[in-house]
Assembly symmetry: C2
Homo-oligomer: 698 residues x 2
């Protein structure tokens, strides 16, 4: 691509037989009452409706490293002239734009793509101009087709090409070729013959390429892409309380105990090991079992009540081990293919040193006492919230930043942020933008179970992943409409859902009532609807489902308030099922993205059917949503869009059972018994060889 | 409403027990790395997704005088605090905003309305803030409901009310009342009793009203409304060639002849009388009958080939009469209830004086000759286009503006602009904004039969009405999808369609083949789908349908190139039908808007059904799209939405035939014979009285 040439207005102007004294600027800006600028086509081009663009460019879109950014725009001018349009992109720290020609899609819509290969920030925008030469060429062809005398038109073309030659002066090869073409068009001859010479797209492309960069109209905004590590898009998370990992019932588990349990967890194929807060737990107003107000002497308290005299958010609970132990755990996890995610809960136990050292960071009652956390009528006496809007908040904001930096320094790259929706959006935007500068591989998961607008705004503010409503979307209609919203609307550009089947706070009714098949169904859904998914274990794989109270979604004897001792070898564990699903996720790129998700018709409301694709890999998922009964129905696939023909068989290879089915045509039968396996994870194998070959399918 | 109070940060800050030295600003701006500003809730509020807003506020929305502007926005903060949100609006030339409380619609969406009563420009925006008092009050109620001891909370409320009292200092009545309430909350007592006193919404509203204007977050944009005369939204247009109005065959008609014809035209109930260009017609390269290259001595030429030695765009063709005659015509039309619309075609015949006086305003060939209009392979030798991008274009743009001003000075307020899509958008934006300043009653109809984006952009640039694809939307599916796009999307905010059934350039195949019933069908559709509609007559009401060539949509012996003599009394004229439809349009406000258009199911693809509403007036239209055969089917109406009950009959009064039908329930039968009348225009009359009354329906 040529660099933007020097202002060539004089030459361009010469083409139109007028003199140009002033530089080639655009037509008057809208609303101005002074339209006087020299002749230019630039002001004629309009750029509208650029996508993706979040809130008018106020927020970046997100990509994982290596993903494509497909940019579209309406670009048009008055009249009927031909346009040339380009996508411009660059890494944030580069100054020169890379230019990619955009393709017309019809109706003045243009498209081009670039790959966001590296971590960090990219920028993109678009530009376009009227191309006088291409317009002239198109009209010449029309004239010749209508058998009109086009002799008079040749000199006009010659002048346009001569102007291009002049612009190309710095690139001798191009300039010579263009000058020769201009001479040829300028000399007498048969227009038809000359036009024939112009049938060469390489030659006309050369003219167009030197066709007048000075008249390009640039879109007024530069749009931003945040490029995250692939794990921001794809990963299976496992939440575990290290204090429950002791092999001896009753003893407080340690990081070392968790290290011993890593083979079990990684054996299920998880990618991220998420630990609830690992900091010292406050003693004052410590909660007892089942959230009772009085803790017994052996009650460990909620790990979210952070801080005691031994330290706060930068300290490790001595009962779990030392910072050194933690680093060893992280290293061991890495050797098992897992990254550690830490929990950042920006709140304090009554014993946290900040309450004494920085009382100005907390809210007070009129009587001067600090306010503990409340969501009336609920009270959290063991937790004091921070006031991020306090008068002297800069030290608080900086201190919070230093907490992240401390753990980043320990090698942690993934953080699950507790209740981000109770802190100001401006705080998150400031914090994340700043942290990303030195740590583009940072991944923040927002635990914001709140209203949709708030959830989306946190994602716009920079959170890389988000908890979401998946736990409560159970019917086919709910799942289809929610995941269509998440993947087929603008939300897909900035909001990455992480699909949790349960959390220490959430034991859904579906799991309570559906028992073991429901746990398998929900994991199959989470792991295939979502490239990112998570379970709180071992409660999940052991199908724990006793609620604290009927009609509520809290666990009985919640691990939040007590140490558990899990029997990991229980025969009803679904660990093998999870392991199989996670292996399939790792082996099939189709399941590693959300953008390709598409639902297909299936004539039974208890069966849901959808597909995901990545390159040649197409995985079709069918899940029985009814945890009690066998269900069957007919799937309907859009054959042509999948590259299948009506007449050829294709193979559906169920990766869960390793059974292979021969299908033909758009409608095929499926049947799933939840007591055996509630899901098909079909890999589509297209018919590729002849009968002479051993395997017919690719 | 109170005026924005003085900065009351000090008092507000006191409420939170901290001192405030600095003014109350918002939290740090996004992307800034300096978050340090004094305590405020302001930075917590986010305003997103404000509607209507065209291209990020780049363009105004349009209203006709007296219409409502309904504004919605997502407004929310982090956490769970109560918000107070307001719509702000003002006339462009006023400085003070009017404030209207917004209502929450759920999911953080807020709504309020204002009326754009007068011609000209209005502005609007929205604002919101966290309301600490309302939050405190809500929480107090929750605490009391949960039987918690709320005694400690009363002083906090007292402080919030005291702060409001301080803010209200300028309005003694309010200040006294608030101070009393603060004292009451501040003294010992039973929280339940105090809360009971706060059940009065008028009292709590008072606290909230003085709750801290200094913490309001204003949306960053002011959005614009252009308010046009009602005729910009509603009117039936009639296009007529004055030169064909002579009662003597062969004689060139005059303005006086047209005056004589006004009773005929106004008798059909038209509101706007649109004349093709009335200027002198060029002689050089004048076109003959059927667009032939050679004109005979008596051929009048195309009126769009403007200008000869007697004058150009500000002159009147002497064969039509004088400028004085024109003014008389306009006056006579007014006395018949019609406004004149003039045609502005910004192009010149070869004889226009501009070609000699301003050759720089035209494009040239390399040999120096001026270029006539072409759309290769089509040639328009009798017309020279202007180059709006020429180097010294300010004099040209000014000259064009002076043409509009000239005719505005003659009292003309409506202009139909020929081919605006071949002139730069920036030109139109500049021109229209400038003309509107002194003439807010100006109405410009864009004749831009071009691509959708270009059409919409011209509307955004300021055209008040637009030709559109209606002539080619014939099937039920086409009509439903096109008019759903025009009325149910953002396009409805800036694009007002004017539905022409024909033009001198467009004789659609539907009319050619469908004969008289097709003409009735298309007028019924145009006049009810569109609040603005138009016909080119008398060709239309006389059902002229001979094409110049099979498969083309041009008239044979087009009036563009010859003088016609019409027999207005032909028995097959549909003038009576048009008159009836137009009378119904004038009598039913429902048919005078497009925004309320809604389609209803009807189980026959040849029958289309839709309704429009204005206040109590609901008109249901059923049209038979098949010009050849009788069609019947079952209409299905959403009873509840129309305020009808399943159990009560309602009356459908066909205003075209004056027949009344009793309907009951959602499904009712319709039948239309195109040879009799292809449409029902039902006025819905709801069952209102008892059997004892004379007429049961309203």
């Amino acid at each position: 691509m040529p660099k933007k040439s020097e202002k060539t207005v004089k030459r361009a102007a010469a083409v139109k037989n007028i003199s140009a004294e002033k530089p080639g600027l655009a037509l008057s800006a809208p609303g101005e009452s002074e339209p006087l600028r020299p002749e230019t086509q630039a002001g004629r081009v309009v750029i509208e409706n650029v996508r993706p663009e979040i809130d008018g460019g106020r927020f970046p879109i997100k990509r994982a490293a290596g993903e494509e950014v497909c940019v579209e725009a309406d670009i048009f001018a008055d009249g009927h002239d031909e346009l040339v349009c380009e996508l411009l992109w660059r890494k944030d720290n580069e100054t020169a734009w890379k230019r990619i020609p955009m393709r017309p899609l019809g109706n003045d819509r243009w498209r081009a793509e670039f790959t966001a290969a590296e971590l960090g920030e990219y920028r993109y925008t678009v530009q376009g101009r009227v191309d006088c030469f291409l317009t002239w060429l198109r009209d010449l062809k029309k004239r010749l087709e209508a058998a009109q005398d086009a002799r008079l038109e040749l000199p006009a073309g010659a002048e346009l090409v001569a102007a291009a030659a002049a612009r190309a002066a710095g690139v001798q090869k191009d300039a010579r070729r263009l000058a020769a073409l201009a001479r040829d068009l300028g000399t007498d001859g048969e227009p038809g013959e000359k036009a024939a010479r112009l049938a060469d797209p390489e030659l006309t492309g050369l003219v167009s390429r030197w066709g007048g960069d000075d008249e390009l109209v640039r879109y007024e905004k530069e749009l931003e892409v945040w490029v995250d590590p692939v794990h921001a898009r794809f990963g299976a998370w496992y939440e575990v309380f290290p204090r429950s990992c002791s092999p001896e019932p009753g003893r407080h588990g340690t990081f070392n105990d968790l290290i011993a349990q890593l083979p079990y967890i990684s054996g299920m194929g998880f990618d991220v090991l998420y630990l609830p807060p690992i900091h010292p737990v406050g003693k004052t107003h410590r909660k007892g079992a089942n959230n009772s107000l009085k803790a017994g002497p052996k009650d460990p308290g909620s790990p979210w009540a952070i801080g005691d005299k031994t330290g706060g958010h930068k300290a490790v609970n001595p009962e779990l081990g030392t910072l050194e132990d933690f680093r060893r755990l992280a290293k061991a996890a890495k050797s098992h293919g897992m990254d550690i995610a830490l929990d950042v809960a920006l709140q304090c136990s009554p014993d946290h040193s900040w309450l004494r050292e920085h009382p100005e960071w907390f809210r007070r009652r009129p009587d001067g006492s600090l306010r503990y956390a409340e969501n009336p009528p609920k009270k959290y006496e063991d937790i004091y919230p921070l006031d991020f809007c306090c008068l002297d908040r800069r030290p608080l904001w900086d201190e919070v930043k230093s907490i992240f930096k401390f753990w980043l320094d320990q090698g942690v790259r993934i953080f699950r942020v507790d209740n981000p929706h109770t802190k100001p959006f401006a705080f998150w935007e400031w914090l994340i933008r700043d942290l990303r500068r030195e740590n583009p591989d940072l991944i923040l998961l927002a635990e914001a179970f709140t209203r949709p607008r708030v959830m989306y705004r946190l994602a716009k503010a920079g959170f890389n992943q988000s908890y979401n409503y998946f736990p409560w979307r159970n019917s086919k209609r709910e799942l289809e409409s929610y995941f269509t919203e998440l993947t087929r609307t603008e939300a897909g550009e900035f909001f990455r859902p992480n699909l949790w089947v349960n959390t220490p706070d959430i034991l859904t009714e579906y799991l309570q009532f559906g028992a073991r098949p429901a746990f398998m169904t929900r994991y199959a859904l989470a792991a295939t609807l979502g490239a990112s998914c998570g379970v709180y274990g071992p409660a999940f794989e052991l199908c724990e489902r006793a609620p604290r109270e009927a009609g509520r979604e809290e666990y009985l004897d919640s691990e939040k308030y007590e140490i558990k001792h899990w029997n990991l070898d229980r025969p009803d564990s679904i660990r093998d099922f999870i392991a199989r699903v996670n292996r399939i996720r790792r082996e099939n790129p189709a399941l590693q993205n959300d953008a390709s998700l598409r639902f297909f018709p299936l004539d039974n409301e208890q069966l849901i059917c959808y597909g995901k694709q990545a390159g040649d890999d197409f995985v079709l998922v069918v899940v029985n949503l009814d945890p009690h009964y066998k269900q069957s129905g007919w799937v309907e696939l859009p054959l042509a869009e999948l590259g299948l023909s009506q007449n050829k068989r294709y193979q559906m290879h169920d990766l869960l059972t390793d059974r292979r089915y021969l299908w033909q045509g758009p409608r095929n039968y499926v049947e799933l018994d939840p007591r055996a396996c509630p899901a098909h994870l079909f890999r589509l194998r297209r018919y590729a060889r002849t009968e002479q070959d051993f395997d017919y399918f690719l």
